[in-house]
Amino acid sequence: MATVGRRERKILWAASVPMALLALSCIYPLWFAINNALKDNRGYILDRFGWVNDPTFENFVTAWGRARFSEYFLNSVVVTGGAVAVLLITASLAGFALAVLRFPYRRLVFIVILASMMIPVQVVLVPFYKTIIGLGLLNTRIGLILSYTAFFLPFSVYLMAAFYAALPRELTEAARVDGARFWQVWWFVMLPLGTPALITLGILNTLYCWNDVLISLLVLQRERTLMVGITALRGEYSTNVPLLAAGIVLAAAPIVLIYLVFQRRIVAGIAAGAVKG
């Protein structure tokens, strides 16, 4: 951004005030969660908004131990990591095929993939569960990994296809004409070229998989994932908010961390991907 006029500077400063308030509202929940995670339940009920008086780490200990978060955490890492890896590979393959290669019924295939994005989870709950059982995937991590891949795939394929289609023609044409060695083309050319889109997708899908409750509840009933563990902390009647907050802090911490670390990469990656044609 070169020179900015004084008038524009005024507009931007004026806009910054409501934007700062909005930013505060976005930080507030984190403060709320951490602050209340340090209270005991009685302290929370008697004073919900105030600063914690004598902080206790009891809730974190309970969450990690009794609520078995240490096990759930590992499950979540394995399942999320596995699903994201499978998602990125399959989406990149399909996106490459749809955007670059030429074959019959290409449009139809694309439309079928897009249309399956519109199938809400609730619509397929019972049949989906029966499918999982029929394939012997109940209570297996691989079952959950494949389920996640299936549920978040349409969007990922779309994004990869759109990304590859936006690349300069010469690049993709060359890749296509290069014939027969499509594997190498995909591995050495398309995958590296797709890095910015893959990073974005990686973050989004990590978020979806990590935060999912419903699919995980159905597929993994013995060993659970972190979010299911947290939801199970919410009792029938009472919610022990401090304990829940401690669980949320534990579960959100890795995601926030990943986001903050990769934040620059997303934007930098996108800037690199914006090849001017």
């Binding site: 507030y28 399909a94 609730q122 289609a165 014939g179 934007v267």
Partner: protein, 291 residues
Amino acid sequence: MSAQRRKAIGSKAERRFAALFLLPSLLLLLIFRIIPLFWGFTLSFSENGEWIGADNYVRAVGDTNFRDSIVNTLLLLATLPIWVMLPMLLAILIHQGVPGGKLYRAVYFLPAVLSSVIVGAIFNIVLRYDGSLNAALKVIGIDAVDWLGSSSTALGSLIAVQLWSTFGMSVLIFLSGLSTVPDDIVEAARIDGARFWQRLFLIVIPSLRPIIEFVAVVTTIGVLTSMFGLIYVLTGGGPGTSTTLPEFLIWLEQGRLNRPGYAAAISMFLFSMMAGVAYLQIRIMSRNANV
């Protein structure tokens, strides 16, 4: 075979590899989404294992709760422009170098990271009758409003909370789109004396059109299928039916009321409603993906 035609369908090797590359995706979708969809369709013609024909659909048409949930969905869809415009405006401002922009960019995404459980718990406390929002309004002399409890404000409040918890994602998408708007064109316009707003409306926004459409699509899918968590925590579908969306009704029928067949029938209505919206979106998306 003409050259043109050969170009459209590709060489034999190309077709074979295309099929191979698409196979994993198509197989997964077929097994976990498409077959279950048709299976669910057959379930909607039965209740408790008995075949009852189209009864569930007849019941749905006469069910005032279901009709209310459709009206609520339409009201929700009517707010779509806000869901797109607000993040776009924020992204443009950040892109234009608003003071503190880098910080905002990082922070706006935080609500999207939190699960609806904690977002709900917090807004429960903020929006309740004796909550902090009413306390703040009292200071500036506005009477207390039962945001989540009165029929006129509950849906609006719910929508606002969902918007708050997802706008950061859209801001990110717009920001990535903005980085592809060629700086030199914007710069040229500036040198030509175009004002801030002129540059915004004549150059920046038109070049963002694919992103705008993309955000609209993603948002529509999101609001139609992933608001259950917030509804459950914030309003429980009430008061009356004022925040009951089809998704919530499906949950109620399937679980507490133990009528899976009826739930499946409502699901099919939800799917066909989405398919209607989807038709428009597929057209937009396949154009944008250049396929």
